[in-house]
Amino acid sequence: MGESSGGGVLPTPESTSIEVMAHLKAGKCTTVELIGHYLRVLETTGRDLGAAVEVHSDSALAAAQESDARRASGKPLGKLEGVPFTAKMNISTAEGTTDAASGMLRGFKANEDSTAVARLRAEGAILVGKSNCDEFAMGASNESSHHGVVHNPWDRDRVPGGSSGGAAALAGSFGWAFHLGSDTGGSIRQPAAFCGATGLKPTWGRVSRRGLVAFGSSLDQIGPLTRDARDAQLVLSVMEGGDPLDATSQDFDSVKTPTETSAETISMKRIGLVSEGLTDAIDPEIRQRALEVTEQLKNMGHEVVEVSLSTLSKANACYQVIATAEASSNLARFDGIHTGQRVESEDLEELYSKSRRQGFGAEVRRRIMLGTFVLSSGYIDAYYGKAQQVRHEIRQEILSALDTVDSLMMPVSPFAPFKIGERVSDPLALYACDILTVTANLAGVPAVAIPCGFDSGGLPIGLQWMGKHGDDHRLLDLATSLQDQDDAWRGLPPGGSQ
C-alpha cells in the first residue's frame, strides 16, 4: 500500500487486524489515515460488490480522531484500538439502520448498539459500516436482500454464500477490518468458505444475542468473519461472555490472548474426520482438499481418525423444521402495528396480511409458512416434536464423538460457489448448501471455518472443525496452527481491493 494523503504509510491490503494494530502502534500511520482509507475501500470495492450497504464515514472518522488523541496523550488503549469493523444488517448499531436486509424494516433505526458491538467499541474498535445479508439472515447465497445481490470477490458472477454474504465478501477481498456476521445454520462459515475468509460460529450462548434481530433463537450466534483465526480469537475474546440482557448467555472459561498460540500449545491432538462429510454428495475437489489437509495435520503431529456421524443426514431436515418454527414466531412482531411497514387497510385482518405480504420477501414468507405449519395443531408432534427428538440425538452423537476426539473435521460446503441466479428458483437446491453446517448449530457447539486453498476454477475451498461446548479458543488455536503452515490464505482476489 502506498502513502496515505496524510503522509503516513498504510498497511498492505491483506494485513490482518492484529497486524494493523502493530502498524498503528509503530506510528507508521494515524488511525484517521487508516480509517479514512478503509472508508474509501468500502465506498468503492465494498459498494461494487454489493457487500457494503452503509458506510458510516462521519462517526468512524470522529472515532478515529479520538483514538489518535488517546494514543498521543498516552491514555490506555483498547484491545482492538483503531481496528475498523462492520456489522451485518441484522445486528443493531447506534448509528445507521438495522433493517435485516428486509423491506419490512426499511429505514429501521435501532438507536442502540447490540451488546457485542458495544463491547468491541469499548475496546477501541471502530464501526465503519453495515454489511449486506440475506433477508432476515435466511439464505445461503445473499440473493434475497432488498439491498440487492452480493458478488463473490473471486468471481463476480458467483454468489458469496449467505446469509452473511456481505461480511464474507468484505473479509475475502480486503484485510485490516473484521466483520460481524450471524450464524443460524452456517451463515458465517459457508460464506467465509465461499470468499476465502475465516469464520467462527461460537458456542451457543457464548456471545450475547442482545441486539441481533432474531431468526432461530436456539440456533443464532453472532460471530466474526476475519482474515485469519488469530483475529477471530481476539475479536471473540472481546465480545464473549455472559450479558445480563441475554438470559441464555454465559461465561465460558479458556479465554486467552492469541499471542499465546503456537504449535506446541495446541491441545487438540486427536482430530476426527467425519466420513459422512466425504461422500459422493460432496464435490470431489473439495473432498480431495480435505484429505490433503488431513495429511498436513498428520505431518504436524496430529492423530486423525475417521469418525461416523450417522445423524448428519437427518440434520438438515431437523434444522429446517426448528429454524422455521422459531422464525415464524420471531417474525410475528413485524405486523405493521408496532414494528414493520404498515399497509393501511379497512380492517385488522387485512392490515396484517397486506403488511406482511408486502413487507416480507418470498423466501421469508415461505419459511414463516413452513414454520407455522410445523407448529400447528395436529402436525406439531409429527414435525416439531420429532425434530426436537432428532436434535437431541444429534447433540448426543456429537458429544459422544467429541469424547473420543478433540474436534470433528468436515468441508463447509458440499460444492463450490455457484452462479448468481443458478439456485434462486429452487429452494431445495439452496437448502442443500446447509447440509454440513447445520449440525454445529443444532448441537450448540462451536465451529470454525478456514480457507484451505482453491479448486481448479480458482474458487476458495473452506474446511471446518467443530469442538465441544466452550472449546472455541482451542478450535481457533488449531486453526491458527494450520494457517501458520503457509501463507496461501493471505492472497487476495485479483482486483478485489480496487
Binding site: A100, A247, S328, H338
Partner: protein, 474 residues
C-alpha cells in the same frame, strides 16, 4: 329431572411486583399511556426477555398459600397469536411445564360447611397491553400493562353453585392479598376470572359439555353468570338440544351469556418452548426462604383470636378482611391495649373514619402505638371514653400527633376541690335546671355536664363531676 352444576375456574392474578416480568419497567405504573415501556416489553427487534426474580418469589408465595406442589424445573413457552396489544405476536407463558401443580382453594359451601376446590396447576405468564376502542371507530393501544407478571390458577371441575364459585374466587383473592402476591383489584382487572360451566343429571358422574364464560369482572358477575348459564344449558338439554363447546361472553346489564366463538374457531396457539429463556429452577432453599417470609396465615390468626382473645366470630369479619387490619390490631395489643378495647376501637372509630373516606388502614394517620396509649389511659381512668374519642378526632389531622396530644392533656381533672369550684358555679348559674332535677326530672343533667365541661375547657373528668353534682343535690 334434577340437574347438578359443575364449575371450573381459571383465575388470572397480576402479581404485585415492582417491575414487569421480563424487564425493569415499573409494573402498575400510573404513567400516561406508553410511558412505562422499554425495548423488551414492546418486543423491539433484538431485545430479549430476562426473568425478574421478584416474580418468581411472588409466584412461590402464591403456590405455598394454595398448597401446590412447586416444581424444581419449569419452563416458559410461547403462545403465538396476533393481536394489536400483543406487540411480539406471542405471549410468554408456561404451557408444557408449569411451575406449580395441584393444591386447592379453600371455600365455604352455601350451608356454611368448609370445602376445597382442587387445582390442576398454576403457571406464570406475561400480560398483554390494552386496546382502547374509541367511539369514532379508532383504536389506541397502551402497552404500559404489557409484560406485567401474571399467575394463571387453573382448577379442576367441581360441583358448585354460582355463589360457591364466587366464594372460591373471593377466597383466592383474600389469600393472594394476604401474602402480598396480588392487590386483588377486580375493577382494574388485576384479578380476572374465566369460568367453565357444565351441567349433568343429579347423581351422574359424567360431566356434560362445558362452556367457557368470559368478561367476569366482579363476584356478582361470577355468581350470576354461573346461575344464568347453567339454567340456559338445562333448558337446552331439557328441550332435547345439545350443548356446544364454546366461549361465551357475560353481559352483566342484560344478565345473559352470548356465544363468542366455538371450539372449532378457537385459535391455534402453536405453543413451543421459549428459546430466549433458560429452564427455571426453583430450589428448595428458594421455597423455604419464601415460606419463612410468609405472614401468619388467616386460619391460624383467626383461631388464635377466637381462642386467646375470645372474640366472637362475627366480630372478626372486618378485622380479618385485610391482613393489614389485623396487623394494626395486633400492634395495638402488643403496645398494651387490651384485645377487647382494641377490637372495639378498630371496628368503631377507625373503620368509620376509613369507610367515610374509602381509605385503607395504611392511610390511617394515627400510629397503632399511640392509639394503644390512649386506650391504656382510658383503662387507667385518666380520660373518659368521650374525651379519648375527641382527642383521637383531633389527631386525625396529619399535622397533629396523638402522642403529644395525650401528653399535653395530661389527665382529666379529678381533684375534688378544683372540680367543686366549677360545679358550684354552674349550680348557682342554673337554678331552673337544679329545681327540675330536684323534682326528679334528670333531663337537665346532660346540660349541666356540658356547662361544666365548657367551663373547665374539657379538663373536668366527667365521671367525677357527675358524682359531685349528685352529692350536692342529695
Amino acid at each position: 329431572m334434577s340437574w347438578t352444576t359443575v364449575v371450573g375456574l381459571e383465575i388470572h392474578a397480576q402479581m404485585a411486583t415492582q417491575t414487569k416480568m421480563f424487564c425493569a419497567c415499573r409494573r402498575g405504573s400510573s404513567a400516561s399511556a406508553n410511558e412505562s415501556i422499554c425495548p423488551v416489553c414492546v418486543g423491539w427487534p433484538g431485545a430479549l426477555p430476562v426473568l425478574q426474580s421478584e416474580a418468581i418469589r411472588c409466584a412461590i408465595r402464591a403456590a405455598l398459600c394454595l398448597h401446590c406442589d412447586i416444581q424444581e424445573f419449569s419452563r416458559f413457552d410461547r403462545k403465538n397469536y396476533f393481536y394489536p396489544d400483543l406487540p411480539k405476536g406471542y405471549q410468554i407463558s408456561q404451557f408444557y411445564r408449569p411451575y406449580a401443580l395441584g393444591g386447592g382453594i379453600p371455600f365455604e359451601r352455601e350451608d356454611g360447611s368448609p370445602a376445597e376446590l382442587p387445582l390442576v396447576r398454576i403457571h406464570m405468564e406475561e400480560d398483554a397491553g390494552k386496546s382502547v376502542h374509541e367511539s369514532d371507530g379508532t383504536s389506541r393501544i397502551d402497552l404500559n400493562r404489557c409484560s406485567s407478571p401474571l399467575l394463571e390458577i387453573v382448577s379442576e371441575p367441581l360441583t358448585m353453585t354460582g355463589k360457591e364459585a364466587a366464594s372460591c374466587v373471593r377466597s383466592v383473592r383474600d389469600l393472594l392479598r394476604w401474602v402480598e402476591v396480588c392487590d386483588g383489584d377486580m375493577e382494574k382487572g388485576n384479578l380476572r376470572c374465566d369460568v367453565n360451566v357444565s351441567v349433568m343429571p343429579e347423581g351422574s358422574n359424567e360431566y356434560g359439555t362445558r362452556t367457557e364464560l368470559k368478561n367476569l369482572n366482579s363476584f356478582v358477575s361470577i355468581e350470576r353468570s354461573v346461575l344464568v348459564e347453567s339454567a340456559r344449558q338445562i333448558e337446552v338439554l331439557t328441550n332435547g338440544g345439545e350443548i356446544r363447546q364454546e366461549t361465551r361472553l357475560w353481559d352483566q346489564d342484560r344478565e345473559i351469556t352470548e356465544s363468542m366463538r366455538g371450539k372449532e374457531d378457537s385459535p391455534d396457539y402453536r405453543y413451543f418452548p421459549e428459546p430466549d429463556l433458560p429452564v427455571v429452577q426453583i430450589r428448595s432453599e428458594d421455597i423455604e426462604e419464601q415460606r419463612a417470609a410468609l405472614p401468619e396465615m388467616p386460619e391460624v390468626r383467626l383461631s388464635r383470636w377466637l381462642n386467646d382473645y375470645g372474640y366472637p366470630q362475627l366480630e372478626t369479619v372486618p378485622l380479618m378482611a385485610r391482613r393489614a387490619n389485623g396487623d394494626y390490631l395486633e400492634e395495638m395489643i402488643k403496645e398494651g391495649a387490651d384485645p377487647g378495647s382494641a377490637s372495639n376501637w378498630f371496628r368503631g372509630e377507625i373503620l368509620r373514619h376509613l369507610n367515610d373516606r374509602s381509605e385503607k388502614i395504611e392511610d390511617f394517620p394515627v400510629k397503632a402505638k399511640d392509639l394503644a396509649a390512649l386506650i391504656v389511659a382510658v383503662k387507667e381512668d385518666r380520660f373518659s371514653g368521650g374525651r379519648a374519642k375527641s382527642l383521637l378526632q383531633e389527631a386525625l389531622d396529619p399535622e397533629v400527633s396523638l402522642e403529644s396530644l395525650i401528653e399535653a392533656a395530661g389527665s382529666q381533672e379529678q381533684d375534688t376541690d378544683a372540680l367543686a369550684e366549677w360545679v358550684d358555679q354552674v349550680i348557682a348559674e342554673n337554678p331552673d335546671a337544679i329545681a327540675k332535677i330536684r323534682d326528679g326530672d334528670m333531663k337537665p343533667m346532660g346540660f349541666l355536664m356540658g356547662q361544666i365541661m365548657k367551663l373547665s375547657s374539657g379538663q373536668a373528668h366527667p365521671k367525677k363531676v357527675q358524682e359531685l353534682i349528685r352529692a350536692r343535690l342529695s
